[in-house]
């Protein structure tokens, strides 16, 4: 009957309409949420890069959680144990061995090979710190190395129009600066809580901090001894103040007032100095690569910085990689640099005029060509804090240099005991992951 057929056709059309509405609903689900943990100032600033990524990938929402550096290590480990890990997170590259040992991060060789630009564009020294047992576990995000920040006016007054390039010249320059600024001020700031300066000095001399496949401490070796002796000497000669972290509450104020003229620190301070130093010293400071023990300038420095790692247990690894890839694009790295002063890990990004014409950053470019890593083992953080403890004791005169080095070796051997036990049984994680 025509009426019935028309009614049936109408029902069919409605049915199709309802089904396609439903299908539309299935095709656009609520956006997946990526959880990203970032530390310090980077955590605050990276939020500004998120909208562009969400525009490119509308099916993803990124939630950034900011964690202070002082609590970051324990928060990450606690989150891992508590099954509350984010999808991806910023990780200092000296922490990568620890997370590899936990089996917490995803190997990224495949993703990196498939991405535009591959791996050739990253600073080799930096990429190396992300590799264990031939496997890459994180992608470098920004680089950090330590070099000299100094007061050009005070140095010029002391007779040095160019920054020193050898240890000899450096010590001479510091001596002259000290004579110039008097007993109430100093030549260089070396906070006790930092293990980097004495370790850098040792690495510059080619020291191996650990021996026998990183199973024992090697701190009594000649290069380490020589480096630490130099470090202590700086305090003995009153070139560096015996200050702890809590004491120097305002580095910027002290630098501006001439309390110290040299500071071994990293790239974040380019921005901080520009922002926080009073106008009286604007343009009166500069950066320079570290002096070398001999004529082979520049002296080596630490391959630091942070990478982005993806949690192995994440349910959204593909999306997490897309975001990590986005963050490490040259264009985004440059945008990030403009916001934070953090230096890009991709060499091509350095061609941009904002970096190529920046004299403060150029010193970092030179320094980044000569890097050395610290031992890539999970125990490194503990060893570093043991180094801090004994260098502080030696500086404060509680131990002699040799006592400090012997104690350091003894403590480090104890810290590494479990590593030796695991190596004996072939249960070391790096070997496990390389095979899988």
């Amino acid at each position: 009957m025509p009426g019935a057929r028309r009614r049936w056709a109408r029902f069919r059309r409605m049915g199709v309409g309802v089904l396609s509405l439903a299908a539309l609903g299935c095709r656009s689900p609520a956006p997946a949420v990526l959880e990203f943990w970032a530390m310090g100032r980077e955590g605050e600033v990276v939020q500004q890069l998120v909208p562009e990524f969400e525009r490119r990938a509308p099916e993803v929402r990124v939630r950034v959680q900011q964690i202070p550096w002082s609590a970051a290590h324990e928060k990450l480990l606690t989150a891992y144990v508590g099954d509350a890990m984010p999808d991806l997170f910023q990780v200092g590259n000296t922490w990568i061995p620890e997370f590899v040992a936990l089996g917490a991060i995803e190997p990224l060789d495949g993703c990196l090979a498939a991405s535009a630009g591959g791996v050739a564009d990253y600073f080799p020294g930096i990429l190396d710190t992300n590799r264990l047992g031939g496997v890459t576990y994180a992608v470098p995000w920004y680089v950090d190395t330590r070099l000299l920040f100094y007061r050009t006016d005070i140095l010029a007054q002391a007779g040095y129009t160019q920054p020193p390039r050898t240890w000899e010249a450096w010590l001479d320059a510091m001596g002259r600066v000290k004579a110039l600024v008097g007993p109430a001020n100093y030549a260089i700031l070396l906070p006790f809580s930092e293990w980097q300066p004495p370790v850098i000095l040792a690495l510059q001399l080619g020291a191996e901090l650990l021996r026998d496949n990183d199973q024992y401490g090697n701190f009594r070796s000649a290069p380490v001894r020589r480096a630490l002796a130099l470090y202590l000497d700086l305090f003995e000669r009153q070139l560096a103040p015996r200050a702890g972290d809590a004491q120097v509450a305002n580095v910027y104020h002290d630098f501006a007032s001439g309390f110290f003229s040299f500071y071994i620190t990293g790239p974040w301070n380019i921005g901080e100095f520009s922002r926080r130093l009073p106008a009286s010293v604007a343009g009166r400071w500069a950066t320079a690569p570290l002096p070398a023990p001999d004529a082979d300038w520049p002296g080596a420095s630490l391959a630091g910085g942070a990478s982005v790692a993806i949690f192995r247990g994440s349910a959204r690894k593909d999306m997490a990689w897309r975001f990590a890839e986005y963050l490490t694009e040259p264009a985004q790295q440059l945008a990030f640099y403009r916001l934070t002063g953090d230096l890009p890990s991709r060499m091509s990004a350095w061609q941009d005029p904002s970096l190529a014409d920046n004299r403060y950053a150029q010193a970092f470019w030179a320094q980044l060509q000569r890097l050395r890593s610290t031992p890539k083992i999970p125990e490194w953080e503990r060893i570093a804090s043991t180094v801090v403890r004994y260098t502080e004791a030696a500086v404060r005169g509680r131990l002699t240099l040799d006592e400090a080095l012997a104690a350091l070796d003894r403590d480090v051997d104890a810290i590494l005991e479990k590593r030796r036990w695991l190596l004996q049984r072939g249960r070391l994680p790096e070997r496990r992951h390389a095979g899988s």
Binding site: G40, E44, Q66, P68, A71, V81, G82, D83, A84, R276
Partner: protein
């Protein structure tokens, strides 16, 4: 004459002491209202040159402090109510109900008072993780549900409830639960207010456990968020002070409103104890 000298001495000492006690708190409030950078001047300023609420604005808008206030308040209220219920029930039972093993168990509990809370913290974390409660509100509420101290306080106070009152109710046919709810609880009201206030203050101010258990920023309580803030903005004194004021203000207000009961409770509890 001697009276006057004595009075002057005593009032003077008390006044100086009070001023010294309150000074850091006053400076905290004052600095939070100063324009940026003013709190770090030498010689230190005590009063702001101009009063500005900008730092509070930053806290609420950029740093999302409102969320943390909510978390702290919610947790404090939840723990207080739940623990009041559990502790008062147990305290009343230990005081007024006879059952086998009562005194032995109570003495055992008192012994547990000596164990510092941090001893079991790590295994407790692992236990909560097994239960899937890490980074949840329950992770903070559950360990605070009952406390030996609370049971002790209620029990000491409940001892003074006349047995005749309770027996009369039993003769009238009231059930134990009814007796507890309608007779014992109202009789214990002073100590309950004290315990409630004590628990509220303790939970609001708790730092270490929320620091460990609440890994996600959304669930931070105020003390944890403040410690985070200090790690980041140590150069921004005025902002820090504003955060400190926000953390301290609610619990101080609650305390001032209920202090008479609180102090009365401590007085009565300690005399008997």
């Amino acid at each position: 004459m001697k009276r006057c000298v004595q009075a002057a001495f005593i009032y003077g000492a008390l006044g100086t002491g009070a001023a010294a006690t309150v000074l850091p708190l006053l400076w905290m409030v004052s600095a939070s209202l100063m324009p940026a950078g003013e709190a770090n001047l030498l010689p230190p300023r005590f009063w702001p040159s101009t009063v500005t609420f900008a730092h509070y604005g930053v806290l609420f808008s950029r740093l999302n402090v409102g969320r943390y206030v909510f978390n702290s308040a919610m947790l404090a209220v939840a723990v207080t109510l739940i623990s009041l219920l559990l502790n008062s029930m147990a305290g009343y039972a230990f005081a007024k109900l006879r059952f086998r093993g009562r005194d032995g168990t109570f003495r055992l509990l008192l012994g547990a008072l000596v164990i510092p809370g941090q001893v079991g913290m790590l295994p407790l974390f692992l236990l909560l993780k097994q239960m899937g409660l890490v980074n949840t509100y329950w992770g903070v509420i559950i360990p605070g549900m009952a406390s030996v101290f609370g049971i002790f306080l209620v029990r000491q106070y409940a001892l003074s409830i006349p047995d005749s009152l309770l027996d009369a109710a039993r003769v009238d046919g009231a059930g134990e639960l009814r007796i507890y709810w309608s007779l014992a609880l109202p009789a214990c009201r002073p100590i309950l207010v004290t315990l409630g206030l004590f628990t509220f203050m303790g939970t609001w101010n708790d730092f270490l456990w929320p620091l460990v258990v609440l890994t996600g920023r959304d669930l931070y309580t105020l003390p944890v968020a403040l410690a985070n803030l200090v790690g980041e903005h140590v150069q921004d004194t005025e902002l820090m002070m504003a955060g400190a004021v926000l953390t301290v203000l609610p619990v101080v207000v609650v305390f001032m409103a209920l202090q008479r009961y609180y102090i009365q409770g401590i007085l009565s509890g300690s005399i008997k104890g």
